[in-house]
């Protein structure tokens, strides 16, 4: 097998560079992972809160409708 010098040099420089910046890469990776988690959490929170808001809205609407209906029924019954 013949040594392909450019490939060899690229390989060596990539290995050395990787070893040199590996400790710093951790911080970058952490930042990226944190951002993904934050994004994920934000989506989960938004979805959960949206569902709760809808549930609150429907519950309030139902309570109001039933409250009004019961008043109407009472008035008719009294009449």
């Amino acid at each position: 097998m013949k040594l392909h010098v450019p490939s060899f040099l690229i390989g060596v420089s990539l290995g050395a560079g990787g070893a040199a910046i590996a400790p710093r890469m951790r911080a970058v990776a952490l930042e990226i992972a944190t951002t993904f988690y934050k994004l994920g959490d934000a989506i989960v929170v938004r979805v959960a809160r949206g569902r709760e808001d809808v549930a609150d809205l429907l519950a309030e609407a139902k309570a109001r409708a039933r409250g009004q209906l019961s008043r109407v029924v009472t008035v008719h019954a009294e009449a």
């Binding site: 959490d41 989960v44 929170v45 979805v47 959960a48 809160r49 709760e52 609150d56 519950a59 309030e60 139902k62 309570a63 109001r64 409250g67």
Partner: protein, 936 residues
């Protein structure tokens, strides 16, 4: 509280019908264990039917039984939490009632290191700059449109349109020019007011010292954010609302905001939630001045959210009454325009009956429309107001809104702030009481050599004070509480050098006053060894300490206090010797020069005075006595009952302990009762009232920016008597304008009757252009001469015209009808003999004579301006009659000699009559006691 843990919960929603509460708990997200604990704990409470804690949303749903007692409890506690979310302004509404540490925590700041620089930037982006937005000006386009959107202009423009249809392009040009001229005058008047209002934005403070990242730094005050740790010291103007977290002998002058004349001693202690602004000792408020000590405070509110912002909003929202003059003139012009339209209708019907051409019918209609509207009125009104403004300017009274000049004349009630308006807002030593003798101020300051009991008393007072002294070639500059400053100035005037005194008796310690011990004790080293102790404070308590004293001290104290003086007792002792009473010192915030005279003069002019003050009742009562004001004294808290009762409203002379909104309420109630109200003030707390009053007057060059910018009138000097002079000018303007309006409308009526009469007999008497000439020349110039007269000397010896009175009363209208009919009759007769030219010559000339009869009489006969205006316009009118091109332009036909004869006759006869009979008539009527000017 949950399992002994404190959870910060924020109420997100309260759905009332479904009895559901939803909270947000910051630590709940992703914590399933906490969710179960919350469900278990809250679910066990009475009234709660169901609890769902969701770790995915970080929220808790609480469903309640309809009658659950917990509901109101939860709402009550949850509400403040909502406001206390991270970085949100805590707001003056609650910060004063909370412990400083709680406020700092709620604002996510630190009492030592302040905010991080990055966090401050983030908050600046979120909360905006610490500036007050103030007034939003009306656009130029809207202002211009407002000038054209009124009945007279609409009728004039319609007339121009009709003239254009019939090809009378000269008429079109003339009418449009007149409309443009009047609109320009109106626009300029309103635009000036708008520009002045816009100057509100300049009420800013410069730099502020803060701690960020643990380092002190100076930042632009506009960059302050909630949570910033602010450093303030004597001389600073507080740049934002802040909760004090650390202080040393901090004294703040809040008079501008609260009206309280004494500087307030601040502390870190929380006070009740319901405490009044003046009692919130733990807070610093934007716009107030630190007069002593220093402090660290955490910013709770910036910009519009500050109390100053709230006051400014109140000032903006307060309804500023439209200039009465403008509205009354608008109403008058509107009525005249409609009467012109009616006359046009009658004339058109008559002309059709006479089978005149459509062109002639329309020309008469246009002439009548133009004749009915007093085109010269805006010019003469403006000139009269501007001249009065210039006369007031020479007396140091700056009028910021033109219409105010006339409103001044109608004032029936004058409300005045006490501190800084009636008084100087600067304490002064008035008297001392030593060895059984009372010495007044003049005797104290005359002492040349600082020895003896007076010097001992003053020296002890100075030693016991906590002041900063600076001396330069201008003299002494003393900072500290106003009471101690007054003592220091008295000592300096008596020949004592406070800096030397301090170095001779260095202070070892100072024991501050407390709620129980209302005195200050200071201990000083003596050069010969040992200590000298000085006590200064409430006389009743200081006397209890003393063993060596003479004379009826407490009786004198009571006498001085009853006279509105602030009294302090001073005593001293060497080492452990018994306390020796040195004397009493009595201080007061002295009345401004001329304040009492001004109030007496106002009463003489039929104007009632009401004092509105933030001070305590006894202080207010003493000032009322001093200025000779009698009437009921009430406190701000009694206002709701008093304002509802018209009878009591008429009785009040003093309202003590008032807030800015109380002042507004009093003024609104007085205005609702039909009074024309002026308000004189100088502080920020007066600004809303200054804006609400018919005439707001900022007193003195030292008045606050906001007061000056809100007021209609600014007094450059502090002599309140100049307000009376301004009212006198206002009354002269009212009198002159009434005479001028009466004159111009009589002329218009004459034209209206002449043209309508002509139409009824099938003749066209005057062309529209001729009418315009008469209105702009023979109506306006003499009208201007009348409006600019110097006025009568006794304007301030009679009551103001009743509020709500129209410009012209029934009597005026009767006289207008008489004069108008006379002018129309003589012009009609001239028209019969000499045609339209003679009518034109007569109608103009007769007005010059009528103008002379409208003058006030007891005045120098040969007023040059009056003569110049009358004879100048007579010459122009003569030229219009005599010169052929002018006659041709105005389509005036008829023999010239007859016209010239009519001119001479019409000019001479009324002048002769006026010079012979006019003066006598007026004098006879005045002798009958008629207050109002009554010229024939």
């Amino acid at each position: 509280m949950l399992d002994d843990r404190e959870l910060a919960a924020a109420l997100v929603r309260h759905a009332r019908a479904s009895h559901r509460l939803r909270f947000e708990i910051a630590t709940l997200f992703g914590d399933a264990h906490l969710a179960r604990t919350i469900e278990r704990d809250l679910g066990a409470r009475s009234g709660v039917t169901r609890v769902r804690a969701n770790p995915r949303s970080g929220r808790v749903l609480v469903e309640l039984a309809p009658d659950a007692a917990i509901l109101s409890e939860l709402e009550h506690f949850a509400a403040p939490v909502v406001r206390r979310r991270e970085g949100a302004p805590v707001g003056a509404a609650e910060a004063h009632s909370l412990d400083p540490a709680v406020v700092v925590r709620a604002l996510r700041s630190s009492a030592h290191d302040g905010l991080h620089v990055d966090e401050a930037k983030r908050r600046l982006a979120r909360h905006g700059e610490n500036v007050l937005d103030g007034h939003r000006p009306t656009s130029r386009l809207a202002l211009a449109a407002r000038q054209l959107a009124n009945v007279p202009t609409a009728i004039l423009l319609s007339s121009a349109l009709v003239s254009a249809v019939f090809g009378d392009l000269i008429e079109v040009g003339a009418i449009v020019t007149v409309v443009g001229l009047n609109a320009t005058i109106g626009y300029r008047m309103e635009r000036t007011s708008e520009l002045l209002l816009e100057a509100w934005r300049t009420a800013e403070v410069g730099n502020a010292e803060v701690i960020r990242d643990g380092r002190p730094m100076r930042v632009n005050a506009a960059a302050l954010v909630p949570g910033d740790l602010l450093l303030v010291r004597a001389g600073n103007i507080v740049p934002a609302d802040a909760r004090i977290v650390e202080e040393h002998r901090l004294l703040v002058d809040e008079s501008a905001l609260t009206g309280e004349s004494e500087a307030v001693e601040k502390s870190m202690n929380p006070v009740a939630q319901s405490a009044a602004l003046a009692d919130r000792i733990g807070m610093l408020y934007r716009g107030t001045t630190v007069v002593g000590g220093h402090a660290r405070a955490v910013v709770t509110a910036t910009g519009e959210a500050t109390e100053l912002g709230a006051v400014q909003r109140l000032a903006s929202a307060a309804r500023s009454p439209k200039a009465r003059l403008a509205s009354r003139l608008d109403a008058l012009a509107g009525r005249l325009a409609w009467s012109g339209a009616l006359a046009s209708g009658v004339s058109a019907l008559a002309s059709i009956a006479w089978r005149r051409s459509a062109r002639d019918v329309m020309r008469d209609a246009v002439a009548l429309s133009v004749a009915a509207i007093p085109e010269g009125l805006p010019v003469t009104t403006n000139a009269a107001l501007v001249r009065a403004m210039a006369r007031m300017r020479r007396r140091g009274i700056v009028v910021r809104r033109l219409g105010t000049t006339e409103a001044l004349g109608g004032i029936t009630v004058a409300c005045a702030d006490k501190t800084g308006t009636l008084t100087e807002n600067r304490m002064r030593l008035e008297a001392v009481w030593i060895e059984g003798r009372r010495l007044e101020r003049s005797s104290i300051t005359c002492a040349r050599v600082p020895v003896g009991p007076i010097a001992a008393l003053l020296a002890a007072s100075v030693l016991n004070s906590d002041l900063d002294y600076h001396r330069n070639h201008h003299g002494w500059h003393v900072t500290g509480s106003s009471t101690e400053q007054a003592l220091a100035h008295a000592a300096i005037a008596a020949g004592i050098d406070p800096i030397e005194l301090r170095s001779r008796f260095p202070r070892r310690r100072l024991i501050e006053r407390s709620d129980q011990a209302r005195y200050v004790v200071s201990e000083h080293e003596l050069a010969i060894g040992g200590t000298l102790a000085v006590v200064k404070g409430a006389p009743e308590q200081v006397i209890e300490l003393c063993e060596i004293m003479d004379g009826p001290i407490l009786e004198e104290n009571a006498r001085m206090a009853a006279a509105g003086l602030r009294v302090l007792a001073v005593a001293s002792r060497a080492d452990a010797a018994p306390w020796r009473f040195l004397g009493l010192v009595a201080l007061r915030d002295p009345l401004r020069s001329g304040a009492a005279d001004a109030i007496r003069g106002a009463a003489h002019a039929g104007i009632r005075t009401v004092i509105l003050t933030g001070d305590q009742r006894p202080t207010a009562e003493a000032i009322a006595r001093e200025v000779g004001l009698t009437g009921e004294v009430i406190e701000g808290s009694e206002l709701p009952a008093v304002l509802a009762d018209d009878e009591r409203l008429r009785q009040i002379a003093v309202v003590a302990r008032v807030t800015p909104s109380d002042k507004v309420a009093v003024i609104e109630a007085l205005r609702a009762a039909g009074e024309i109200v002026a308000m004189a003030g100088d502080g920020i707390n007066d600004a809303p009232a200054l804006h609400t009053a018919d005439v707001g007057i900022a007193v003195g060059a030292r008045s606050t920016d906001l007061a000056r910018q809100t007021a209609d009138i600014v007094l450059e000097h502090e002599d309140l008597r100049s307000i009376l002079a301004a009212i006198g000018e206002g009354r002269i303007v009212q009198d002159n304008l009434r005479r001028s309006v009466r004159f111009q409308i009589a002329g218009n009526l004459g034209e209206l009757l002449l043209i309508t009469g002509g139409a009824l007999v099938g003749r066209r008497v005057i062309s529209p252009l001729g009418v315009l000439w008469i209105n702009l020349l023979t109506d306006s110039l003499p009208g201007l001469a009348i409006a600019l007269e110097p006025g009568e000397p006794d304007v301030l010896s009679r009551p103001a015209a009743p509020p709500g009175a129209p410009i012209l009363d029934r009597d005026d209208w009767r006289r207008i009808a008489r004069a108008g009919s006379a002018i129309a009759t003589v012009s009609g007769i001239a028209a019969l003999f000499g045609g339209p030219l003679s009518a034109f010559a007569t109608i103009g000339a007769s007005q010059f004579g009528y103008a002379a009869a409208q003058r006030t009489t007891d005045r120098v006969e040969n007023d040059r301006r009056f003569a110049a205006l009358i004879f100048g316009s007579a010459a122009l009118h003569f030229a219009a009659v005599a010169l052929s091109p002018a006659r041709h332009l105005m389509r005036l036909a008829g023999p010239l000699p007859a016209a010239l004869a009519s001119f001479a006759l019409a000019l001479g006869a009324p002048l002769y009559l006026a010079s012979r009979a006019g003066g006598q008539l007026v004098i006879t009527r005045r002798a009958r006691g008629k207050g109002k000017d009554r010229t024939p």
